[in-house]
């Protein structure tokens, strides 16, 4: 089995190379076709003349034809630095990697909690369909999905940081407390709460419909008619089948573990990838944007691969290859 899995993974990765190259060409093309560009930020500075801007354009290589710019970028991408940022002159890979841990901590915690709580709520909603709990969960999920994240974020800050003073309003560590896990935990509470709220809403809906599907199947009825306890039916028969679509959903959501949360990171001053992306987008910092697109593309491929392998492991009917 393990040999099969490895060879399957190998070929899947080989097959995804054209896909990743395609993503990079489309991403690069769209970015450069979009109106405006990184030089606009210089226009806002009145001491900079049009001649200065032309000079900077040459210095940054933005005067080159787009295919030359693409090849220059692709070469840098393959040779390790991933290119240099326009506005700091630093290697893109370094800029991305220094933001990764923060995003992984925040998104990892939030996703893990959301999966646990969401699956639990969905499951309960399915087995107690049309109960008060089910209606509450459905309404709650709709509310959580309808309100913008920034509103939840600002409310959480206003209540817990400003009014009650229990928790810090933002950042990852108190200044001087870097690396202190207890301090990290305090800072994690609010952003995780807000992100989990939104993610739970999504997960619980998927989980509910998936469990509903499964518990209406004949084999569940058969299991019950055999006299098995609810617990045995639910965890021995239903659970494994019901989580299969959730594993696929996990595969799709995995890249967000690395791409970060745009709004929540901004509101909570969380030093992660989401904020890097927002800042890079504002400045039209093409090298960082391209780096992040490639990073996400790679994780989409990996996420789907992991999900497929996991499904094959859970469901013996599915064969890899």
């Amino acid at each position: 089995m393990s040999g099969d899995v490895l060879s399957y993974a190998f070929w899947r990765i080989i097959h995804s190379i054209p896909l990743v190259i395609g993503v990079s060409i489309i991403g690069f093309g769209i970015m450069h076709l979009a109106p405006g560009g990184p030089l606009a930020v210089y226009t806002l500075n009145p001491t900079i003349t049009v001649t200065d801007i032309e000079r900077i354009k040459v210095a940054l290589g933005l005067d080159q034809p787009i295919h030359v710019q693409y090849l220059t970028w692709a070469k840098a991408m393959l040779t390790g630095t991933w290119g240099f940022t326009f506005f700091g002159g630093r290697p893109v890979l370094e800029v991305i990697v220094e933001r990764l841990p923060a995003t992984m901590v925040l998104m990892g915690t939030s996703m893990a909690l959301a999966m646990l709580i969401g699956t639990a709520i969905g499951m309960l909603g399915a087995i107690r369909r049309h109960s008060i709990f089910d209606y509450l969960a459905t309404t709650g999920a709709m509310l959580a999905l309808s309100f913008p994240t920034f509103w939840f974020g600002l409310m959480a800050i206003w209540i817990f940081a400003i009014q009650l003073g229990w928790l810090p309003s933002g950042g990852m560590y108190e200044l001087g407390e870097e690396g202190n896990p207890w301090d990290l935990l305090r800072h994690l509470v609010l952003p995780t709460m807000v992100l989990t709220l939104v993610l739970v809403a999504t997960w619980s809906r998927y989980a509910r419909s998936s469990f509903l599907d499964v518990i209406q199947q004949d084999y569940i009825r058969t299991a019950r008619s055999k006299g098995l306890s609810t617990r045995a039916v639910l965890f021995g028969h239903a659970f494994r089948n019901a989580v299969i679509p959730l594993v696929a959903l996990f595969g799709v959501q995995l890249p967000t573990l690395f791409s970060g949360a745009l709004v929540a990171e901004t509101i909570f001053s969380w030093p992660g990838m989401g904020r890097l992306f927002v800042d890079a987008l504002n400045m039209k910092e093409y090298p960082i944007l391209m780096g992040m697109i490639m990073f996400t593309a790679l994780f989409v491929v990996v996420g789907n691969l992991i999900a497929d392998i996991a499904i094959a492991l859970i469901d013996p009917r599915v064969k890899l290859g």
Partner: protein, 545 residues
């Protein structure tokens, strides 16, 4: 049905409760952050990414590392006077450092200055800084003023002599704006644009960069050998809080000692002023908000039409209603508090009746559809600014109503910053813009780049006269102004320029931009300075009272 049996529900609820983060109340309570007297935390919404003072783009946030780590030859103080920094004294004609014809500048440098790595600061560093600024391969943000240098000579280790192609009084500002970088480190770099120095800089400034946490903060320690005396506060922390409202919240809770640059949101000024233990002050920013008219478009060719359109606008009302009165009405490209502001300028608006009359006289008659027209051209145009800036949008909406009342149709066409301020502006493709801009050479009243007819980029390929404004008298006055050394004489010249600009309105000034700054009451030494955008310009003088 056994599916509803209670043990299952309980176990599920248990799972849910165990896995959710129910706030442990008392356990994570943190007492109000105690003020620490050995450090200061300054907050900004933006994060600096470039610490090389010649290369950064984002004034405001990136001025902070510049002020902490580097020095210029001279600074400008809160009164608008130049004060020597790395220079031993300010060059003037009186002390003989500037030649009688104003073309030769001799700059004497301090002798006791060291870079933070221990190397001595010399004339070679100043020469290298100049060479880097004019090096076409380096993405230096501006060469303004330096392009006039004809020759640069190192007289000795502590003296340089610069010859200019023509006398240029605002040359002082060029050096005030560009901080000196070390020759001994950067001259070895093959490509300064991507040099490691830009992230790990070595300067002569009051602080040394100790650590940087991407997306969070930067920590500086006082430079014990600083040539103007070691900073009084041992540690300086620059914290980045991207959301302005959250940043203000942190200034209230004490997580930030001084909220500079982006400041307090306008609608919170009243509240901020009443906070105990906090000092709140509105600080004049160098920018003035304008309506820019593209004089190259048929609707705006006639100065009388532009004037009519300008006086139809409710400028003070927009300031009061939209900006909570935080901006201050000005009739020129300068703040009313600038030394060169012409206080004889008269505000004749809003006067829609007169505006309508002037448009009639100029031949723009109301057509069948209620919109004015002349020679087949409708008085219809767009106004653009950065999208997603609610205060500016509200301003535009009021202007739209003002103009509609006199038969002028304006369409709001806002775009992302990277679009509107790109070629749409620099190639004069816009109809009108709503924009805030500061003077072009530091805070000198010189306005050549914006108002001289030789500075229209679509025609001459240089300058930033995006309105395509041309006036021979303004050209001549601008040329005179940069040669005059007597401030009283200069004031007259610029007063006349402001008078003409208000009469012909290539750009209609609305108000001088202010930002609400909030600092801890015990923090001493902060000197609000309208002549710089740099909140930390005198950081070495700050102390805890």
């Amino acid at each position: 049905m056994s599916t509803t049996s209670s043990p299952t529900r309980r176990s599920l609820l248990k799972t849910a409760a165990a896995s959710s983060l129910i706030l442990p109340t008392g356990a994570i309570f943190s007492p109000a952050i105690a003020q620490r007297r050995d450090r200061i935390i300054l907050g900004t919404t933006q994060e600096p990414v470039q610490f090389n003072p010649l290369l950064y783009v984002n004034a405001g946030a990136e001025n902070i590392p510049e002020a902490c780590l580097f020095d210029a030859l001279w600074d400008v103080n809160e009164k608008g006077e130049f004060i020597a920094n790395l220079a031993a004294r300010i060059p003037t004609r009186e002390n003989g450092d500037i030649s009688a014809d104003g073309k030769t500048w001799r700059i004497n440098l301090k002798r006791d200055v060291k870079w933070s790595d221990g190397q001595p600061f010399t004339a070679r560093d100043v020469e290298f800084t100049y060479q880097t600024i004019v090096n076409p391969k380096v993405a230096v943000r501006s060469r303004s003023g330096f392009d006039l240098i004809e020759s640069f000579k190192r007289v000795d280790d502590h003296t340089v002599e610069i010859a200019l192609s023509r006398p240029f009084v605002p040359f002082m500002w060029a050096w005030q704006n560009m901080h000196i970088v070390p020759h001994h480190l950067l001259s070895k770099e093959e490509n300064i644009n991507t040099s490691g120095f830009n992230a790990q800089p070595v300067g002569t400034g009051p602080y040394l960069l100790k650590s940087r946490t991407a997306g969070s903060h930067m920590v500086y320690e006082a430079n014990p050998n600083y040539h103007r005396g070691a900073a009084k506060i041992k540690q300086f922390i620059h914290k980045f809080v991207p959301d302005q409202l959250v940043a203000y919240g942190q200034a209230r809770t004490g997580e930030i000692d001084y909220l500079g640059v982006s400041g307090v949101p306008f609608d919170r000024w009243g509240e901020a002023a009443k906070l105990p233990d906090r000092t709140f002050f509105p600080l004049a920013q160098p920018w003035v908000q304008f309506v820019y008219f593209n004089c190259g478009k048929p609707q705006f060719k006639d100065p009388k039409v532009r004037r009519a359109l300008y006086i139809a606008l409710e400028m003070q009302k927009t300031i009061d209603d939209v900006f909570f009165g935080a901006y201050k009405r000005t009739l020129s490209y300068l703040h009313t508090s600038h030394w060169a502001y012409n206080h004889d300028l008269k505000d004749t608006g809003p006067n829609p009746q007169l505006a309508a009359k002037m448009l009639d006289e100029a031949g723009w008659k109301v057509g069948a559809d209620g919109v004015r027209e002349k020679d087949g051209v409708k008085m219809k145009f767009s106004m653009s600014t950065t999208a997603g800036f609610p205060a500016r949008q509200a301003t535009q909406a009021i202007f739209q109503q003002n103009w509609k009342a006199i038969g002028v149709e304006m369409e709001i066409k806002n775009m992302p910053a990277s679009v509107v301020w790109g070629e749409y502006t620099t190639k004069s493709q816009f109809d009108t813009l709503l924009v805030s801009w500061e003077p072009t050479v530091g805070m000198d009243p010189d306005y050549t780049a914006r108002a001289h007819s030789k500075m229209i980029p679509v025609k001459t390929g240089s300058g930033s006269n995006y309105t395509q404004y041309e006036n021979a008298e303004v050209d001549r006055l601008l040329e005179d102004g940069v040669k005059q050394t007597d401030q009283a004489e200069r004031k007259k010249t610029y007063a006349r320029i402001q008078e003409i600009l208000l009469e012909e309105v290539p750009f209609g000034p609305q108000g001088g931009v202010f930002q609400g700054q909030i600092a801890h009451k015990s923090l001493q030494g902060i000197k609000p300075n309208q002549y710089v955008v740099d909140a930390a310009w005198n950081v070495h003088e700050w102390s805890w009272g």
